[in-house]
């Protein structure tokens, strides 16, 4: 096995911008990040440091242009792939602000996404009844009422319900790499425990998880292997889980200097 393939995710010197020529803003200024299968990485950092942008660049959001660098997923450069192709390869982005999509049924959407994933793996579409069973068991594990199946995607969901719905989607799609963008924000302690439980269930030898968070709080429930601090579009410090505690105690100022 070569070095290139021993990492599940390799972000190499990524520079990314948003906007058109006159109005161009450089957000990421040379990010390097390597995540192995089985690892949980946490990315912390002050507001506007580029955490969400990094997650969107990896997931393939069309608004962000990569001007330099590459993103390798299992050794393959994925920057040329569309967001849906990246998803079908096993990359999942949990949104900080999940959008509401009135008129698109939540359960039906989940089944379509599940079947797209199966198709990509060369499997047949799931029988609707089999899928229903999978869905019910995953929803039960996340303490979600079955009426969420009847509703439109995120429509009228509270902040906490939306985050739970993100974790439900992650559980259904069972991705190799999950990037969770501030999944803990807006959750009360009980909901945080449920969501953390969902993340821990995904954890395993073939899986990698990148947690983007403002606070150490989530890391009490999901223990990270590596913690990075992102500031001004660069990773300024990498350490073990103690780094998160340090940040909690001292803030970011001492790192950002």
């Amino acid at each position: 096995m070569t070095t290139a393939t021993s990492y599940m995710l390799e972000v190499k010197d990524i520079h990314a911008t948003i906007g058109e020529s006159e109005d161009l803003t450089q957000i990421l200024k040379g990010i390097n990040l390597s995540v192995k299968a089985g690892e949980v990485h946490a990315i912390m950092g002050p507001n506007g440091s580029g955490k969400s942008t990094l997650s969107k660049v990896i997931a393939g959001h069309p608004d962000f242009k990569v001007s330099k660098g590459e993103v390798l997923f299992n050794g393959e450069n994925i920057l040329e792939l569309e967001a849906d192709e990246r998803s079908r390869k096993g990359i999942f982005l949990g949104f900080q602000y999940p959008v509401e999509i009135p008129g698109v049924n939540n359960a039906e959407f989940l089944r379509m996404a599940y079947n797209q994933r199966r198709k990509a793996e060369g499997k047949e579409e799931a029988d609707p009844l089999d899928f229903e069973e999978i869905l019910d068991s995953k929803m039960k594990a996340l303490d979600m009422d079955s009426r969420y199946k009847e509703r439109s995607i995120n429509e009228g969901f509270s902040g906490g319900e939306k985050k739970r719905n993100e974790i439900l989607q992650m559980a259904i799609l069972d991705p190799a790499l999950a990037i969770l963008d501030e999944t803990d924000s807006g959750l009360d302690v009980d909901a945080l425990k449920v969501v953390a439980g969902g993340i821990n269930r995904l954890r395993g030898p073939g899986k990698a998880i990148v947690l983007i968070t403002h606070y150490q709080r989530l890391l009490d429930y999901v223990q990270p292997d590596v913690v990075h601090v992102l500031s001004g579009g660069r990773i300024v410090k990498t350490g073990g889980k103690d780094l998160a505690l340090e940040v909690e105690k001292q803030g970011y100022d001492w790192l950002v200097k």
């Binding site: 997931a59 069309p62 959008v99 999509i101 008129g103 797209q116 994933r117």
Partner: protein, 501 residues
């Protein structure tokens, strides 16, 4: 979609009534009308005279006609002459086959349907079921109560749409459908309008009478017979293609309820077969002009729910005229169109609140792709006496192409001072944030866009409730089917919100 905004207007704004354009008919029409009435059944004279007087008063549409504000009159005017000789030969275009009928049936109305061919009722192919009394109007009109007859004639005489007046005047065999007092047929009645593809205009007129506390559902489909062909236009005629001109008039008695769901011209001929879409019948549909009108008078505490959906044709125009004439009446009128290619669809709505304490709601949604054109021109009129009116109107347009065009004209004419009325219109593109969300879960861009488009339209179809679930699902498929390969994979642009009103 994300950029939905509505303008709220709660104040009473007195406005002037519209003026009637100068009456003008062609000499050929002037000459044909008295002869047509004299040669027809005596029983129909009153109705036809009323239609003729409405037509003379309204005149033929011209470029300044308010009723056709977004429609180029040149496209259909050649069709508005006296009925062609060929149109007068009863069922000259043949009859639909058993399989033609079979594939238009929907589960909930397999035992309850009417067949009309080129506007002519064909009893031997129909099966209205026990609770719908169906007959040619001329055979039952003399036996109807004076009140009912007068009400129908008044509705006809008040017609301001020349094409709708002509449908009643020239329909060879107007049909009368009645649901008796307190009756509530278990199945909906499916009305199948077949076209033989003939090159002349076909006129159809249906008179629905829902007696006191009756409760019924009517589903309408338009179809082309399998052996239909495109006919060359008659010698001397400037009209090209065919024109189907249908007018349904409904009189709802006290406490009566009517749920009316119409599938206008659809690209897919059948609700469940995709192969039909490109067939010869689809070509006939695409080239046809479809004019449809629903005129309803609601008496005390009666209810109307109307949902109309279609994928347009060379020129499709649907018109709704609803009079809330009895206190406590409620009317809901909804429309959904999905247009591709150079198809056109125009909706024209007039809701008149004539008495206090009535409710009306309207929602029209259009999806316009390619170079298609759609318009909605809707007015809520509140008479001085109609205090405590509650009326609402919303027009939403989803633009899938920069070359498509949608015109919206939501309008209030309020002459009472204690009312709650609101109206609004929006135009926008698919929301890129929603699209990215769906794609990030592995849905290909085309599937994501289709899903969002269907969701946009679904809101209107869902208003039909339990009117006809099989019918609604079929319509849903037919609408989506027309968008196949029309939802380009590129990312949606940032939405541009638009307000109109």
């Amino acid at each position: 979609m994300s950029d939905t905004q509505a303008i709220e207007t709660k104040a009473a704004v007195p406005r002037f009534m519209r003026t009637v354009p100068a009456p003008l008919l062609t000499p050929a029409l002037e000459e044909a009308i008295p002869k047509w009435i004299a040669d027809g059944p005596v029983a129909l004279e009153g109705v036809r005279e009323a239609a003729a007087s409405a037509l003379r008063l309204t005149g033929l549409p011209h470029s300044g006609s308010e009723d056709f504000s977004f429609v180029r009159t040149g496209e259909f005017l050649p069709h508005l002459g006296p009925p062609a000789a060929a149109a007068l030969a009863r069922l000259a275009g043949g009859l639909p086959s058993r399989s033609d009928i079979e594939r238009q049936l929907v589960t909930e109305a397999r035992e309850s349907y009417l067949v009309l061919v080129d506007g002519v009722f064909v009893p031997e192919l129909s099966k209205p079921g026990p609770d719908f009394q169906v007959a040619r109007l001329d055979t039952v009109l003399p036996a109807l109560s004076r009140e009912t007859r007068d009400a129908f004639i008044e509705m006809v005489a008040g017609e301001t749409d020349a094409a709708a007046a002509m449908a009643v005047l020239f329909a060879a065999e107007p049909v009368h459908i009645r649901v008796a007092a307190n009756a509530a047929p278990a199945s909906p009645l499916l009305i199948l309008h077949f076209s033989s593809g003939s090159s002349h205009r076909t006129d159809a007129a249906l008179f629905y009478q829902g007696d006191t506390l009756s409760e019924s559902r009517i589903l309408v489909r338009h179809a082309v017979m399998a052996r239909a062909q495109e006919h060359p236009p008659e010698a001397g005629s400037k009209a090209t293609g065919s024109m189907q001109n249908a007018h349904t008039l409904a009189l709802l008695g006290e406490g009566a309820s009517l749920k009316f769901m119409e599938a206008g011209p659809l690209q897919a001929q059948s609700f469940d077969s995709e192969a039909d879409a490109a067939g010869p019948q689809a070509a006939v549909t695409a080239k046809a002009i479809h004019f449809g009108k629903l005129t309803v008078r609601l008496l005390r505490d009666s209810r109307l729910l109307a949902v109309s959906a279609h994928t347009g044709s060379r020129l499709t125009r649907n018109s709704f005229s609803v009079d809330l004439s009895g206190e406590g009446a409620e009317a809901e009128v909804n429309g959904a169109t999905v247009l591709t290619g150079s198809r056109q669809s125009h909706n024209f709505v007039r809701i008149r609140h004539l008495v206090p304490r009535c409710v009306s709601r309207q929602q029209f949604k259009s999806v316009a792709a390619d170079q298609s054109r759609s318009s909605v021109d809707g007015t809520i009129y509140v008479a001085p006496a109609a205090q405590q009116t509650n009326a609402y109107q919303l027009i939403n347009n989803l633009m899938l192409s920069d070359e498509a065009r949608a015109d919206s004209k939501p309008r209030l004419m309020i002459h009472a001072d204690d009312v709650k009325c609101s109206h609004g219109a929006t135009a926008g593109k698919l929301d890129p944030a929603q699209q990215f969300y769906l794609e990030s879960r592995g849905l290909p861009p085309s599937q994501a866009r289709a899903l969002m488009t269907v969701a946009f339209i679904a809101e209107v179809l869902e208003k039909s409730g339990k009117t006809g679930e099989g019918f609604r699902d079929g319509l849903d498929h037919a609408l989506l089917d027309s968008l196949k390969n029309r939802l380009p994979a590129e990312s949606a642009n940032r939405p541009k919100g638009g307000l109109n009103g």
